[in-house]
Symmetry: C2
Amino acid sequence: MSSMPTAIEKQVYKVIGKHVYANLDQIDSRYLSNMDALAKLVGEAAKIGKLHIIEMSAKKFSPMHGFDGGVSIIAILEESHIALHTWPESDYATVDIYTCGVDGDPDASLEYILAKLKPKSYKVFKADRGN
Amino acid sequence: MSSMPTAIEKQVYKVIGKHVYANLDQIDSRYLSNMDALAKLVGEAAKIGKLHIIEMSAKKFSPMHGFDGGVSIIAILEESHIALHTWPESDYATVDIYTCGVDGDPDASLEYILAKLKPKSYKVFKADRGN
């Protein structure tokens, strides 16, 4: 007499997690220290990517090496998060757009940010954050 | 007579950007929907990594597929950000720890989170976010 193994399986719902992030060199200098402009940009980029902001936090840092302070903008999304950081003393910025679900288009959000910040050079990376 | 090219160089300060992120399967279920416990965990992980939280945002989402809601915790750091998301219906979580500067130890922060969340399996990734 043989006994069959009992399979008790928990249903696992698939998480679709799309994370695009970029390092941007020599962006439009008008944005580097402009917290309000960067917060507005993140809001617009979210909309273009069909992403929904629940809460946005913005912080301007102290001046460094004689340059105006950098900025961090972080948005909690219904679909995960957007994070944008700038370093005026290095003429540098980075952006992360991380979305879950199938509806959001983080690539469109990133394209919008690139079009506005106009980096002279940049690198884009993609990560699968799903299960 | 020859003329030497004139080099007008703008000094660019080096940005050290360390980003570690992880996808965690089957974490300790007591954490999945527990916003307060996850916020506390992020606070402790920041401290262990010598990171300084400026502002922390926490959001608990609506129930999904009969499971209690997921949680997003986002901390703006003096050194960039930490983001933690959970999906109870998928027994899944992800974490991002992104630091600038040489002093922070994001690996130590991640190790602490892994030790607490105890995922049955996980993947860790590292990205250079410097210029």
